[in-house]
């Protein structure tokens, strides 16, 4: 097993919830879930979206049944379901009913919410952090929020404010809660490069406090992931220091798509916006150094598939297009793999040269076949050539691997002549359709004959290759 496999195995072991059955206590019934959604829908429709249901969230203790030890989990889960369902309903109800949205009446907080949302976006685009905080009050004044506003302030200071606002409107409102939607486009060229068009910037106004909600109408994560990917590839040290969420104390930053939304990160991003946009539009090419890593990874994958008997996987990444002989040879190795004796143990693979977009890779391997060990030819080098995402394999070097085939051929001819003629002799196989080496064809059928005899052949070699008694 390779080191990455070992680490991945440790990752599997680190599964925080290996058994989902232990989570069962937190599930409200489907009927309850649906009836809650439906009930909320009815309430919202009959009151034209003006009232928060007075019994919001007070039902689970009467309807859920769970062991006493699970009450807290069940109650917490249901409260969360109600809260999310309710907010989701409140936010989207205006778009779901068949009837058109009602104009907000005078006694709602809608107009105030609208004014504040517009002022909030204006402050964001001006980079005026203090004004944003003054508008948001205590609802969004934590350290992570402040850092996020500073992030946008850096973009504003660079002459490229975060958004262009095309208008705001009240979606729904009552005497305490209002939902406001503003249509915006992001001014970052990366946004256009990743396909983000006009977005909705929603606000919730509740008990005199305005809360900015995540953008809707597009996955803002695409934008941040593009930055994160670019920075990890081309500016890794600066990314680690300024933009990686791990560079900050947990909970001290808002993060999205691998980007910590802080002023420090924005300082790194702003001068690179155009470069990142170009890079996205060019198909996100890998840096030159990464091509070598990619070639090595491809070679390691090829070896992994050879050793696991993944014939189709080998065919997929082998180029030029594999011929029948290649497929037969892959099947030959697959038989050994299926019998618990993968052909090789890979010690390491490394890029040995690169010319243009072609990379040469060599893998040092140890053959697992005891016949190879008996012959002293078990340590080999597998050379590969990687070009345009396809891997060409070359004959192994470092030892004369054909000696193995020759030994098998001699042994089989001496002790299993009839089987040899059927399975391993060139015989009926058309020359060119199979790989033929020193008396054996490398096919699945021949491997079926060879694999169970490997230890016997190895011992026969160590015994001086005695001939059978006549």
């Amino acid at each position: 097993m390779s080191h990455p496999d070992d680490v991945f195995a440790a990752f599997i072991d680190a599964n925080p919830v290996p058994d989902v059955a232990v989570l069962e206590g937190g599930r409200p019934s489907a009927e309850l879930f649906l009836s809650d959604l439906e009930r909320r829908g009815t309430v919202m429709k009959t009151t034209e979206g003006r009232r928060i249901p007075p019994d919001f969230g007070d039902q689970p203790s009467r309807r859920l049944s769970a062991p006493p030890g699970r009450w807290l989990v069940a109650a917490a889960a249901f409260a969360a379901v109600l809260a999310v369902g309710g907010i989701w309903w409140a936010v989207t109800a205006g778009n779901r009913g068949p009837e058109p949205a009602q104009p907000p009446p005078e006694d709602t907080v809608g107009p105030e919410a609208l004014t504040q949302a517009e002022a909030w976006l204006a402050a964001l685009n001006a980079g005026d952090v203090e004004s944003i905080l003054a508008i948001a009050g205590s609802s969004q004044a934590d350290v992570d929020d402040r850092r996020m506003y500073e992030y946008h302030a850096v973009f504003a200071a660079s002459g490229r404010p975060s958004t262009t606002v095309h208008g705001c409107e009240i979606e729904s409102a009552n005497d305490r809660l209002a939902m406001v939607n503003c249509r915006v486009t992001l001014n970052d060229p990366v946004a256009a490069a990743v396909g983000l068009g006009e977005l909705i910037s929603p606000f919730t106004y509740f008990n005199d406090a305005l809360t900015w909600q995540p953008f809707e109408g597009g996955d803002i994560g695409l934008l941040n992931r593009a930055y994160a990917e670019y920075l990890q590839l081309f500016r890794p040290a600066e990314y680690e220091a300024a933009c990686s969420p791990l560079a900050y104390e947990p909970g001290s930053v808002v993060q999205n798509g691998g980007i910590a939304l802080t002023g420090e990160c924005a300082e790194l991003q702003t001068p690179l916006s155009d470069a990142v946009a170009d890079w996205v539009e060019q198909g996100r090419p890998q840096p030159a150094g990464d091509l070598e890593a990619e070639a090595v990874a491809a070679a390691e994958l090829w070896m992994e598939r050879l050793n696991s008997g993944d014939v189709e996987g080998l065919v997929e990444i082998t180029g030029p297009l594999p011929i029948d002989a290649d497929r037969h040879m892959f099947e030959y190795h697959a038989v050994f793999a299926a019998q618990g004796r993968p052909s090789t143990t890979v010690e390491s693979c490394a890029a040995v040269s690169a010319a243009g977009s072609r990379v040469a890779v060599e893998c040092d391997v140890v053959l697992s076949d005891p016949v190879a060990e008996a012959l002293g030819v078990d340590r080999l080098v597998f050379p590969f050539s990687y070009l345009d995402g396809l891997l060409s394999w070359q004959p192994a070097t470092g030892a004369d691997i054909t000696l193995i085939n020759q030994a098998y051929a001699e042994y089989l001819q001496a002790y299993h002549a009839a089987d040899y003629e059927i399975a391993c002799a060139l015989g009926a196989n058309e020359l060119g359709s199979v790989v033929y080496s020193r008396g054996v064809v490398l096919t699945g059928a021949c491997a079926e004959l060879q694999a169970p005899l490997s230890d016997a052949v190895a011992q026969w070699i160590r015994d001086g290759r005695p001939q059978p008694a006549q």
């Binding site: 680490v7 989570l23 928060i52 990874a297």
Partner: protein, 184 residues
């Protein structure tokens, strides 16, 4: 059976069959409270799109795909939304939510999870889907809406990157007294 009833029946079947799996998926990626929120959101979306939810083995993959998007969206908003939720919940004297459960982890678990956290989002997701949800590559491709060969390549690279970050973290760990040369 009218359309509404048929939709409800379908939804209930999906909900009953897959709630734990979706909650497990979410719980592996975020804390307990957020996981319950996200799961509720996934099934709310499933109800809204019940006519387009695929059937059979593909249902869970579809739900995972939705959960992946919900969590990506939620990650940024959770702090703000939680505060709003608390305010709304307080109106109705809902049960007080306890603090997120403390997960006691082994040092090795912490290290490998820290290493994973240094990877890009897509790399992390492929490793989790393969290692924690135990999905084969063709199903991961369906969840993430990418080709199987892309999954193969990305998975292989993600594993290597994980090992690299793991090693990097190992090298950053403060030396033990034994490693310091046995000073008394």
């Amino acid at each position: 059976m009218n359309n509404s009833t048929a939709a409800e029946t379908t939804f209930k079947r999906i909900y009953e069959a897959h709630y734990e799996a979706v909650l497990g998926y979410c719980r592996r990626r975020v804390g307990p409270t957020d996981a319950h929120d996200a799961t509720a959101e996934v099934f709310t979306i499933a109800w809204r799109k019940i006519a387009t939810v695929p059937e059979g083995d593909r249902t869970l993959l579809w739900l995972y795909g939705v959960a992946y998007k919900v969590l990506g969206h939620q990650w940024r908003s959770r702090g703000r939304r939680r505060r709003l939720e608390h305010r709304v919940a307080a109106l109705a004297a809902a049960p007080e939510l306890g603090p997120d459960a403390v997960v006691v982890q082994r040092a090795e678990d912490r290290q490998v999870q820290s290493a994973a956290a240094r990877l890009s989002g897509p790399d992390q997701e492929i490793l989790r889907l393969a290692g924690w949800e135990e999905l084969p590559h063709d199903q991961i491709a369906e969840v993430l809406d990418i080709s199987v060969s892309a999954v193969d390549q990305r998975f292989h690279r993600a594993k290597k990157r994980l090992a690299r970050e793991f090693d990097r973290l190992s090298n950053q760990r403060p030396p033990t007294s034994a490693q310091e040369g046995g000073r008394a």
